[in-house]
Symmetry: none
């Protein structure tokens, strides 16, 4: 009876992600998105009342997925394996960092946006808890430097994904180098 939808939410989120990464927050427009989905600009307003709501909704969606993957960390028994899993995850989701910084700029005017931001914050919090406890474990087992503040370690790790990939250096070489620096620094030990 009702007309069939011309686009799925998944499609919409996927294109939203791409556009955000390509054009940033300001460069993202409904016109662009609608163009990619093959619908009229106004059609999107049936699902999201405004740009901010759409973007935060997308972020919640993305965050959910990341978070789900993150919980698989418990499948690994040793600290070392868990830490490596975490680094892999972060290096794989290397847009995460960009996304987070975009998220910060969104001001919460409408109630739905507020709700989305609340959920985002919640995810953030739960994620940080996970990570905190991992770091805590590393310190307890004497494997991580105990005097470094947890927040700095975490921020630091997340930040690392933004180190630019230079041409001439392979992706794996890059990833391995980053991993080593995070763990043991740039200085030679003797």
């Amino acid at each position: 009876m009702a007309r069939e939808r011309k686009f799925s939410l998944d499609e919409l989120f996927e294109q939203t992600k791409q556009l955000l990464l390509e054009h940033g927050y300001d460069g993202f427009t409904f016109g662009l998105l609608a163009g990619r989905l093959g619908v009229a600009r106004s059609a999107i307003y049936k699902y999201f009342e405004n740009k901010e709501e759409l973007i935060t909704a997308y972020m919640v969606n993305e965050m959910e997925q990341v978070f789900n993957k993150l919980t698989r960390i418990h499948a690994y028994p040793t600290f070392e394996e868990q830490f490596r899993f975490l680094l892999d995850l972060i290096l794989y989701y290397d847009d995460l960092h960009e996304m987070i910084s975009i998220g910060k700029r969104i001001s919460e005017t409408h109630p739905k946006v507020k709700e989305n931001k609340r959920r985002l914050a919640q995810f953030h919090e739960r994620m940080y808890e996970e990570l905190h406890s991992l770091i805590q474990r590393g310190k307890k087992e004497g494997k991580m430097k105990p005097h470094l503040p947890n927040e700095v370690i975490l921020g630091y790790i997340f930040q690392s994904v933004a180190v630019p990939h230079f041409p001439g250096i392979s992706l794996t070489e890059w990833a391995e180098s980053i991993r080593e620096i995070i763990m043991y620094g740039v200085m030679n030990q003797n």
Copy 2:
């Protein structure tokens, strides 16, 4: 002879910097800037023909200062001191990184913009030369890991400044932590 200026170039650059950091390139508007300076939008066009010229002019100004400080590195004799000086400098100018990435996006249509970008590129080049030779020295003296690509090390160091400052951790504690991680990593040695 003419009436007194309502704002100085220094003021203008200062506000430009703040706005760029808060809102990014696209979010930066003459309206915002004029508002902060307490003048009409159009007044700014007396000094800069367009947005790109203003922003690149600001960047040249900023870059000049950084570069001048950087050359003082030669006052320090040992590698360790020089390396510490460099880290201090970068942590102090912690917006540098953001600024550089903004600078990349500006297309050079007008001649003055072109000139500004040329000067910026020059600074960049000279700066990278300085840093490369520092790292080279570190490797030669057996103090830095020789197998890490120079580009990754440099990118990494610059990236580090973007690690967020959490409230609850003092700035010096943050800086010290970052320094240690860069040099020796997060892991305990035994």
Copy 3:
């Protein structure tokens, strides 16, 4: 499916014409046009991406009509009839001249503008061909002065439409006078 349009393209072209004649190219603004159509300025951008595109589109439209009429010239057998038909046509479309001179000033930045200008040029060319061959015929039949350059004759005829209509002289009297001057000059023959 969507709401009804508040203005038709024909209306838009009509007002465009009027405004161009009244204010010239620079004096023509979207604000003025929108005002006459009773819509917001921005509404017009749904149909034409910029001022140049709108104006060239209008001109193509106008030119098409003129050209269609012009081809009816072949329905007349004798040179005299054809010449008279031509003069009538030109005197009737007395803004043509103004329009052509406006058209020359438009620089072609956007592709659609380029396309429009190409079509305009095409019309021009075909029109001039028609007229040239008419004049050629007049000369061959010994009815036009053979030593006058074709370009001057054509330019002259087109120019004549710009002779102002003084109040106090009827349109037909004006047209008849112009026709006579073009054909036989202002001087008495004896």
Copy 4:
């Protein structure tokens, strides 16, 4: 005592003329003019309260000169010589036409503008009187077609200067052709 003027009115009028011809009424700006005179924009406001006043003042000045030349027509005894003198004058001052059409668009808001336009109209009138009487004489002497309305003849002659100069035709050839058409038309007599 008083500072010496950095520019003369003559200079100003000369540059005004050039700029008007190059850029038209809208394209003419105080900035451009000031640039050519080597003074600040605002300096010009000491002499002319606004753009319209300046332009009309220039036009009065120009008109004065043309009119002065025109009165020399009485030095010639015969109608033919006078007519040729008139045509020469008009072909020489071929910008006159452009200027007049520019003048029409100026609306008289300020009193000084009004006054200038009044003087312009006066010149116009006196000029037309001169020309009318010339044409009258031509008709009386049986040299001009008596049935053509004077206004049309005059408008026609003035209009002729706007016939474009095509490259490939020398200026004198062009002028001669125009003259012939005005006098005897494009058609062959037999």
